[in-house]
């Protein structure tokens, strides 16, 4: 069957080697290589479940009075967007399964991309000739965060409205252009004009997904042109690639992973409740609720917004830089700028301009690993600070005390982590070098 299909394609494209070469592509085997694949399969699940939901979601802010099946909301004034999302969740068969699977898939998508990026960073896989692959992946991460934020924002429940209020204030905090830009995007001042909801919708279901799909395409094309990296091993060198061929061994494994990822997401979508929007009620500017937590991938941003003290830059009785700028614009800009620049920075610092196909283990390059660990700590501290109110409720630890502590940790912990990681990596590297020296000195 496959053989005949390959032949048929070969005859019709006059290309005999491309498909066969693709089927013979060699995948190095290492468990840490699976995260990118998991992210890819999450994206497939997101597209399928998302497409299903577009048949039911009504991206309109026209206000109606709810008369649906969910009694606690009956008689309430709400947008059609929210009403249709509640209808999809509670009245459409398999609607809630699709919505919850979609939401879980988004959370796992972001987690898989993040872990994949950490793997790439700590093993030096971003080095020449793979810098562009790293940058496309990084852009993908940024696009995915935005995509997730827009996804839960467009439902127009109370939680998403609070998230949009914060997004609005972050946008207006950009000096000079912030106010006009936000007014333009929102079709008027917050909570926005009638066009805003449909803009959010088209961006979430078309513009950003197409961008993500295109980035995935470029990412994978470049990976396959250069072939995968691999760890050093008995047969592995800079000049070869050792592993399973795509057909049949790797393809079957990867399909098994696809089925497993989808299966777990569907199980979670069916059994583990997430974002129960009917409990939140519709958004109104004058309403908010306590204990609101965003999805995990926004946690580092809400934490940064909470940790920055009430500084605003003012002059002559006018605000120049509003407070949300520090945590909501400057901090993520610094995080992404550092990551984008890292391949160039490392090349500059190390003077290493050669190409690499063999990966480092983290201990092989103590400086990079120490920097990466410190950087991750610098992002992780606000991430945990984003849940300080939950910690207060769960354990009774004073909120203001937590914030004061976290502010100190934000500055101090990365330094400590840097020094500790550097020492550990050097100790590991030295003990391995000593072990090798001993082994070569003692041929018996």
């Amino acid at each position: 069957m496959l053989e005949r299909t390959v032949h048929a394609v070969e005859v019709r494209t006059r290309r005999t080697h491309v498909l066969r070469a693709a089927l013979g592509y060699v995948f190095p085997e290492h468990w840490s290589f699976l995260w990118g694949e998991i992210a890819l399969y999450c994206f497939v699940v997101l597209v399928v479940t998302g497409t299903y939901m577009t048949f039911f979601f009504d991206a309109s802010t026209t206000h109606i009075v709810y008369h649906g099946s969910y009694a606690p909301l009956r008689g309430q004034d709400m947008s059609r967007a929210y009403a249709s999302a509640v209808h999809l969740s509670l009245d459409v068969r398999a609607g809630l399964l699709a919505r919850q699977t979609h939401h879980w898939a988004a959370d796992v998508f972001l987690a898989a991309i993040t872990i994949h990026m950490a793997r790439v960073f700590f093993t030096g896989a971003f080095r020449k000739p793979r810098e562009v692959i790293f940058w496309t992946g990084l852009t993908l991460l940024a696009a995915a965060v935005l995509e997730g934020y827009m996804g839960y924002s467009m439902i127009d429940d109370l939680l998403s409205g609070m998230g949009l209020a914060i997004g609005w204030s972050v946008a207006t905090s950009i000096p000079v252009v912030g106010g006009p830009l936000a007014t333009l995007l929102w079709d008027g001042p917050f909570p926005g004009g009638t066009a805003f909801e449909s803009r959010l919708y088209i961006a979430h279901v078309l513009l950003v997904p197409v961008l993500i799909g295109a980035l995935i395409g470029i990412h994978l094309l470049l990976v396959s042109l250069l072939h995968h990296t691999q760890f050093r091993g008995p047969r592995e060198t800079e000049r070869n690639v050792v592993g399973l061929r795509l057909w049949p061994a790797y393809a079957v494994r990867s399909l098994a992973l696809f089925a497993a990822v989808t299966g777990v997401l569907v199980l979670m979508g069916g059994l583990v409740q997430i974002n129960p929007i009917w409990l939140y009620g519709p958004f109104h500017t004058y309403l908010s609720e306590n204990g609101a937590q965003p999805d995990w991938y926004i946690g580092w941003l809400i934490g940064a917004l909470r940790l920055v003290p009430g500084w605003e830059l003012t002059a002559f009785g006018r605000t120049l830089v509003p407070n949300p700028f520090w945590g909501g614009v400057l901090f993520p800009l610094m995080v992404f700028a550092t990551l984008y620049a890292w391949p160039l920075v490392e090349r500059r610092l190390s003077g290493d301009r050669t190409t690499h196909n063999i990966l480092d283990r983290p201990s092989d390059n103590p400086w990079r690993t120490a920097f990466g660990a410190a950087f991750a700590t610098w992002v992780a501290v606000p991430f945990f600070a984003g849940s300080s109110d939950r910690i207060f409720l769960a354990f009774g630890i004073d909120y203001e005390g937590q914030v004061a502590t976290m502010r100190v940790l934000w500055a101090v912990l990365p330094v400590l982590v840097f020094v500790a990681t550097l020492r550990i990596c050097r100790a590991v590297r030295d003990s391995e070098a000593a072990g090798r020296a001993e082994a070569s000195a003692d041929p018996a």
Partner: protein, 294 residues
């Protein structure tokens, strides 16, 4: 395990896939609920994963292959590239002129392509938030009913709106709190703004625009601070007794205060406009001299 047995095991797993898939269809047809749908479809997919993994591990060839990579491009390859492409531009004599005018053309077209985006929305006026509050505006609840001055006991608070205004506009909602008048420490100019201990502030947080919907109102201890309004988004905390100044959190400006008056019929009205710009700041917001939180 022998080869036929392994294949039988994979076939068994595939049958489980089919069975679970049928169960999913039945669950759908009988409207058995989200849990049943997720369980059956998830089980089908996980059984499929197991079948594929088993087939990969037991039945299909698994030999490790080795393939040479194309050697890394040597330095002289760049020279070859340049040498191959250079003749294409050999006929150009005024390179700079053409590059400059070409860049101008590209920049012009890019500008022309971007400018229509200005049609997306209204252009920002002098201010982002128009507040409907004026001297004499009546204070009403969400249903539009006037609020009586005695509706609140000390320590109580409620959300209110300007009569006749859009309640979803950021400039509209206020929080009215009743505090013991002796605890009020309002600035001199605002002494008359809180008749009978009724104080009102904009309900929109000056940090990030969420509704400030919590009142921290300690009832017994003399050691804890007085009543404060708290925003649930980033926990900016505003002193109710002291003109809405920031006690804690990231907010950089106090909550704008609304001067109140009690009408002859016992209901509440505004005695003037809000004391400052409502909601999150932007470039050019009026910044009062008082500092933000810590």
């Amino acid at each position: 395990m022998s080869a036929p047995r392994r294949e039988a095991a994979v076939a068994g797993l595939l049958l489980i896939v089919a069975g679970c898939a049928v169960a999913f269809v039945v669950a759908y047809a009988t409207d058995a609920g989200t849990q049943a749908l997720g369980l059956t479809l998830g089980a089908a997919l996980l059984a499929l994963a197991a079948a594929l993994a088993a087939a990969g591990a037991w039945i299909l060839p698994n030999e490790i292959s080795e393939e040479p990579r194309r050697p890394p491009a040597a330095e002289d390859d760049e020279k070859k590239t340049v040498a191959a492409l250079r003749p294409a531009g050999a006929s150009i004599t005024r390179r700079r002129l053409l590059a400059g005018t070409g860049a101008a053309a590209a920049a012009g077209l890019a500008g022309a392509a971007v400018v229509p985006l200005a049609s997306l929305g209204p252009w920002m006026g002098d201010t982002l938030v128009e507040s409907p509050w004026r001297r004499g505006t009546r204070v009403v609840d969400v249903e539009g009913q006037p609020i009586a001055a005695d509706a609140l006991d000390p320590g109580g608070f409620l959300t209110a709106f300007p009569a006749g205004a859009d309640i979803d506009a950021t400039g509209s909602p206020i929080v009215v709190v009743r505090v013991d008048p002796r605890r009020l420490r309002l600035p001199e100019a605002r002494r008359a703004w809180a008749p009978d201990g009724l104080v009102a502030y904009s309900k929109i947080c000056t940090h990030a625009g969420c509704a400030v919907s919590m009142l921290r109102s300690p009832l017994f201890s003399a050691h804890v601070p007085g009543p404060a309004l708290v925003c649930p988004c980033h926990y900016s905390t505003f002193d109710v007794t002291d003109g809405g100044t920031v006690l804690f959190g990231p907010a950089g400006r106090p909550l704008p205060q609304l001067p109140l008056s009690i009408r002859s019929d016992g209901t509440v009205a505004a005695a003037g406009p809000l004391s400052g710009d409502v909601g999150p700041a932007w470039f050019g917001t009026r910044a009062p001299g008082r500092s933000g939180g810590w």
